[in-house]
């Protein structure tokens, strides 16, 4: 009965969630196979994808232990701003972006003519400096560290209009919103994984040697920095008094910057001194309180998952072509559960004001006016901000639900993954994603991988990877890139296995 309940729960989870993820941890193998991996990523990487996979041996020949030194490097970027269709159409054919052509480009990029439409882009860099795992018969353990840096950027169409048209009153609206936001977070994780076999059935329906693994990987998280900038403004170009030219430009703005640590303290010091003497320069303060990259937050997180492994050699699927031995694994996991509380000098920097520009006036020589303008803008307009204490601000890890299945048939591995995010942190998105992957181990030592991803934070992505896998040593790389249909944004990612030893 226990076994039935376990399997039933697994099926319920599998069938009830349509989630597809995009912030999922990846290594060179999983990236090459479309970005999945819930049911086949093993070793210490399993800590971050599905800890239950610490128990699996995908090729049946892999040694029990794996050790990675810089054992996994990945970079992924994407978003709706990276619209390769628009890029190809307007930026590769020698066109001059002006007038109607520019208008069409912006409309296609932002999906309409409303200046408030937004597009975004984000990137994540991931590095596993150290990883170790030991696979036992009944249980497995691992230790892995990971550094992640995630940045996101968002602009509205008005921002792009200014960039494309300049300050052209004949192209811009009377009042043009110009907004953008930026966020960056960096943190390190120390993860300890543990998995064990919780169920073993010699026969179940068409399958034999059915085993259910469960794994959990709690992790200690060190927050290095998180900052978010939200800048909102409007630009007015005025030709007052029947002027032949724009004789007044008004930039009405407000922005907020949430940050912490040394950077926050630098800005606070500047703000305090500026109130007493508005001739101080912000550049003289940045770095005064040490590096912005410091321990500014700590927290705990958790990755957990389960994998159902079974031998389906008896099922006649292209039987005999890749070998009779066929192993099916069905997995699910929830990754990156947790949050960080940045509570070291948490500060909200806010400012709002109006830059009313009519040119050099009577109080200065024009030459002096323009010489001083940059400093004036920095110190007295946009740099005239208020610093407000915060109780702290949280960063939610890009929590994902992952479901995957893999079928190993000799040297061939196929996989399918689904996922979705619980939040929009970094490249995480709540919309679902589907990953399909295939690996063929040429001569048993040269893995050739292909895959695709549908959904997520960009349009369809295709990926490939290759390398050499000598069981005791693996060096491989993967690359993914969006397809031509980039209506939902483009993406690109790359990964390298690093130095991965097995023994």
């Amino acid at each position: 009965m226990k076994k039935i309940i376990s399997i039933s729960l697994f099926v319920i989870l599998f069938t009830s969630l349509e989630a597809i993820s995009q912030s999922r941890h990846f290594n060179s193998m999983s990236l090459g196979m479309g970005g999945g991996g819930t049911a086949y990523v093993d070793g210490y990487h399993a800590n971050f994808v599905n800890p239950a996979n610490l128990m699996i041996n995908p090729t049946r020949k892999r040694p029990k232990r794996s050790l990675g030194l810089a054992g996994g490097i990945g970079l992924r970027a994407g978003g709706t701003l990276l619209n390769l269709d628009v890029y190809d159409k307007y930026f590769t054919k020698g066109l001059t972006l002006e007038g109607e052509l520019a208008e069409n480009m912006l409309t296609e990029l932002f999906g309409g003519t409303n200046s408030n439409l937004t597009r975004d882009a984000s990137s994540t860099f991931s590095l596993v400096p150290f990883g170790f795992s030991n696979r036992g018969k009944k249980s497995s353990v691992s230790l892995a560290t990971r550094v992640r840096v995630t940045e996101s950027f968002n602009i509205n169409r008005g921002f792009a209009e200014v960039g494309v048209y300049g300050l052209d009153p004949e192209e811009l609206d009377d009042i043009t919103p110009v907004n953008f936001s930026f966020g960056a977070v960096a943190y390190s994780e120390i993860s300890i994984g543990y998995a064990r076999e919780i169920l073993s059935l010699p026969d179940l329906l068409f399958a034999k040697n059915v085993k259910l693994y469960a794994g959990i990987a709690p992790k200690y998280i060190i927050g290095i920095q998180q900052s978010t900038l939200d800048f909102n403004s409007t630009i007015q170009l005025q030709r007052n008094g029947n002027s032949q030219y724009v004789n007044r430009i008004i930039h009405d703005f407000d922005y907020s910057l949430n940050t912490s640590g040394a950077l926050a303290q630098d800005l606070r010091d500047f703000e305090a001194d500026y109130d007493a003497d508005n001739s101080v320069v912000i550049d003289d303060y940045i770095g005064d309180n040490g590096s912005a990259a410091d321990v500014n937050a700590t927290g705990f997180g958790l990755d957990l998952g389960a994998t159902l492994e079974m031998d389906i050699s008896g099922v006649p699927i292209i039987d005999g072509f890749f070998g009779k031995r066929k192993t099916l694994r069905v997995s699910m996991s929830i990754t990156d559960i947790g949050k960080l509380d940045f509570n070291k000098t948490p500060t909200a920097i806010t400012a709002n004001g109006e830059f009313d520009f009519t040119g050099a006036g009577n109080d200065k020589e024009p030459g002096d006016f323009y010489d001083d303008l940059a400093d004036s803008l920095q110190n007295q307009v946009y740099g005239d901000f208020d610093a407000e204490d915060l109780t702290g601000f949280e960063y939610e890890l890009p929590t994902m639900y992952n479901f995957g299945a893999s079928l190993v048939m000799g040297k061939l591995t196929t996989s399918v993954d689904y996922g979705f995010g619980f939040n929009d942190s970094g490249t995480n998105r709540k919309n679902s994603v589907l990953n399909l992957g295939l690996e063929y181990r040429l001569l048993g030592l040269i893995p050739l991988r292909v895959g695709t991803r549908v959904g997520g934070y960009s349009s369809n992505v295709y990926s490939a990877g290759a390398g050499i896998d000598l069981n005791f040593l693996e060096l491989s790389a993967g690359l993914s890139i969006v397809g031509n249909d980039t209506e939902n944004g483009g993406a690109i990612a790359t990964a390298f296995s690093g130095l991965l030893l097995r023994f």
Partner: protein, 749 residues
């Protein structure tokens, strides 16, 4: 089979990728075309003069900050500057007076002989027995009247005249005093003075000498009488008498000189006073004392009495030399210089005496100063030096009086005309002759008028209508002084204009003045009268609060041409003719003459037809828009209430000053029209408003990246070229905008 699997696998992978609609980005190849339309200058008001934030001419700059003043009532701006003006040293006009070195001698002169004896007893006596040549009669014996004329009695008085040895008499008499104690009355008594046994002088006669009577009679000498070994011979007569019982002698009591002077004498002498006077002369080539009131007061100098020799056989007890024309204190006669010397032993030389004459005045009518020597010999009758001395009337004392190194502090008298060089004579270029070259920097006084240099760099073409140069000075010169000067103004471009007097004016130099200005040259060429100006320093006119003024205005000089050249340097050389009429005058040192050169240029000006004034300046301009600028337009809106129109020219130049292009191009103009002008006051009475724009060509846009600075010049044209006036608040207001199109090409390789 295995081989087949590999082929199938490869086929599968190839098919997978072939079926993928991969978006492999092409190389970027596009152009952006951004247009930026911005205001650059907004209602910027430029006054003609003002501070650095808004003026055509920054009158607060270091060079110009004191150049301009504003009439508080009318607002009229004037260029006013006061510059120190080292006119040259006029001290050469102070006359020099040289004293003389004169010697004097003072003879002792006729020697007066007084008492012949020291007075200790009678000089001699005789009795009746010696007189009668017989025995003395008994008392009561009648004696008949008689005389001893046949046997005169000699009384040797020489042994008792201890003060006298010998003498050569010049004149005078010897008073002989006798007392009759013979006991009978002497009817007559003749006393004859014998020198070496021979009579000398007249006979001293007595009569009716009663018993006991003492009488005096004189022996009168003639010039040349010699006295030596003196004695007296007495001859007497008597009437009959009874020889008394108390008979006695006829006594020679004394022999004293009465106004008795000798040309030489050997005797014990009373003090002998003697005196003399002499004169010392002064040069009269530069200063003359023609009146007793004329004097020079000295700030240096000395008088020395040297080689004072007592060449006599008798010591000098007192010696005083007085100089009645050399005075100090209140400069009265009683304040004369008197030199008193201590005693000078016989035949000796006294110590030299020198007196500092600083502060003394010398009154030397006819350029002579007299002095008096008064002396007295020592007394040899008494005292430590008592004894006979031999002196002659020609014995003398001698000395030298030297008045030297006279420096004049003040002088009053006739100062002879002086021709003084005004400028340092550079001896190296003309062999020491008195030639001054206005373009020799070592000789000319070069006055830089701060600001005019800067102004002349910026503005050219104005015709100032009422400029004035004033030489303001403080002076203690009360002598008529005429300056013949070359004043040449040189502007920043080296143009020269000489300041000259207009025909018939007091400032005009004429050919007849040539002797006064000969030696004033320009680059070695003698200057002509029409390159020179003349003016006087008389301290009588245009003086207020001890400051006098020499004005050069348009009525008397070409100062308008001179200043319209906007000279940055004014070079000066000159000659001063001092007291040309040689009239009585006073002068004092130091000769103070502290002039300032005051330039007053009211900004009432005009421009000539076809020759507008130009204002130039430059500013750094360094932008690098690359080759991306496609279009550029400049918009100008202005309001002008300057009484002049402004045509603006911009020259865009590279780092080597090569002009890359200029604006406006030929046939176009950037012109701000002049404000209307009040015909009466010359001030603007409104403003002119307008706007215009111009477009930069493609070549001009391309050249912008090489521009390092922009030289801009503004032609200023007074309204209809009439004379107009500028006020401090006259200004023009300008707004400037630009529209540029930047095209940037992005092309992958």
């Amino acid at each position: 089979m295995a081989k087949f699997k590999y082929i199938l696998c490869a086929f599968f992978i190839f098919g997978f990728f072939a079926s993928c609609d991969l978006s492999i980005p092409d190389k970027p190849d596009f152009k952006t075309a951004q247009t930026v339309e911005v205001p650059l200058i907004n209602n910027k008001t430029y006054v003609f003069l003002g501070d650095s934030t808004g003026a055509l001419i920054d009158s607060t700059s270091e060079d110009l900050d004191s150049l301009f003043i504003v009439d508080p009532s009318s607002g009229l701006i004037s260029i006013t500057t006061d510059e120190e003006f080292d006119f040259g040293d006029l001290d050469d006009a102070i006359p020099e007076i040289d004293g003389s070195n004169t010697s004097f001698s003072s003879e002792v002169g006729e020697i007066e002989i007084g008492s012949f004896s020291s007075g200790g007893g009678d000089l001699g006596s005789t009795n009746f027995s010696e007189i009668s040549g017989g025995a003395t009669p008994p008392a009561g014996t009648p004696v008949p009247a008689g005389s001893n004329a046949a046997m005169p009695v000699n009384i040797n008085i020489g042994s008792n005249t201890d003060f006298f040895s010998s003498a050569t008499i010049r004149d005078g008499a010897l008073d002989i005093t006798v007392t009759n104690e013979l006991g009978f009355e002497i009817q007559t008594l003749d006393v004859t003075l014998l020198s070496d046994g021979s009579q000398v002088g007249t006979v001293a006669s007595f009569s009716n000498l009663t018993v006991g009577a003492t009488e005096t009679a004189s022996v009168t000498f003639t010039d040349g009488d010699q006295l030596s070994n003196i004695a007296v011979e007495v001859v007497l007569t008597w009437d009959g008498f009874t020889y008394p019982a108390n008979d006695g002698d006829l006594i020679i009591n004394t022999a004293n000189g009465s106004d008795l002077f000798a040309s030489s004498v050997t005797a014990n002498l009373e003090p002998q006073d003697f005196s003399t006077s002499s004169t010392s002369t002064f040069s009269d080539t530069e200063f003359r004392f023609t009146d007793p009131s004329h004097y020079v007061q000295l700030n240096s100098g000395q008088i020395s009495v040297t080689n004072l020799v007592n060449d006599m056989g008798i010591g000098i007890e007192t010696l005083q030399i007085s100089f009645p024309g050399i005075r100090n204190d209140d400069f009265g006669v009683e304040d004369s210089l008197v030199l008193n010397f201590p005693s000078i032993p016989r035949n000796s030389t006294a110590s030299d005496v020198t007196v500092d004459l600083t502060g003394y005045r010398i009154f030397a009518e006819n350029n002579e100063v007299s002095y008096n020597i008064i002396s007295a010999t020592e007394n040899t009758q008494t005292g430590p030096n008592a004894g006979a001395v031999t002196i002659a009337e020609t014995d003398e004392i001698t000395a030298t009086v030297d008045i030297s190194n006279l420096g004049i502090e003040t002088a009053f008298g006739i100062i002879l005309a002086q021709n003084v060089l005004l400028g340092d004579n550079d001896l190296s270029n003309d062999n020491g002759s008195e030639i001054l070259d206005v373009f020799n920097d070592n000789e000319a006084e070069i006055t830089s008028i701060d600001g005019l240099d800067e102004l002349s760099d910026q503005i050219d073409g104005f015709q100032f209508t009422n400029p004035i140069i004033n030489i303001n000075y403080n002076s203690n010169i009360s002598i008529e002084t005429t300056i013949y000067a070359a004043l040449v103004g040189v502007d920043g471009q080296g143009n020269e204009v000489y300041l000259t007097g207009k025909s018939g004016s007091a400032n005009e130099v004429v050919e007849a003045d040539r002797s006064s200005f000969t030696g004033l040259v320009a680059n070695g060429v003698q200057l002509d009268p029409n390159q020179l100006i003349k003016f006087s320093i008389d301290n009588n006119s245009d003086c207020q609060s001890n400051t006098c003024q020499i004005p050069f205005n348009t009525a008397t000089t070409n100062v308008d041409d001179f200043l319209n050249n906007l000279p940055s340097d004014i070079r000066f050389i000159g000659r001063a003719v001092v007291n040309e009429g040689e009239n009585e005058a006073s002068i004092q040192t130091p000769l103070e003459f502290d002039p300032n050169l005051n330039v007053d240029l009211p900004l009432a000006f005009s421009t000539e037809v076809g020759a507008p004034a130009s204002f130039t300046d430059s500013l750094d301009f360094s932008i690098d828009p690359g080759d991306d600028l496609q279009e550029g337009s400049i918009f100008i809106v202005y309001s002008n209430n300057l009484p002049m129109g402004l045509n603006i020219f911009l020259s865009f130049q590279d780092s080597l000053d090569n002009e890359l292009f200029e604006l406006p191009i030929a046939g176009e103009e950037i012109r701000l029209r002049a404000a209307p002008v009040d015909d009466v006051t010359g001030f603007s009475n409104g403003s002119t408003d307008n706007s215009f724009s111009f477009t930069l060509t493609e070549n001009e846009l391309t050249s912008l990246k090489d521009v390092d600075f922009v030289e801009f010049s503004i032609n200023l044209r007074s309204s209809e070229n009439k004379a107009v006036k500028l006020r401090a608040n006259d200004s023009f207001t300008i707004s400037l905008g630009a529209r540029i199109k930047i095209q940037t090409e992005v092309k992958g390789k």
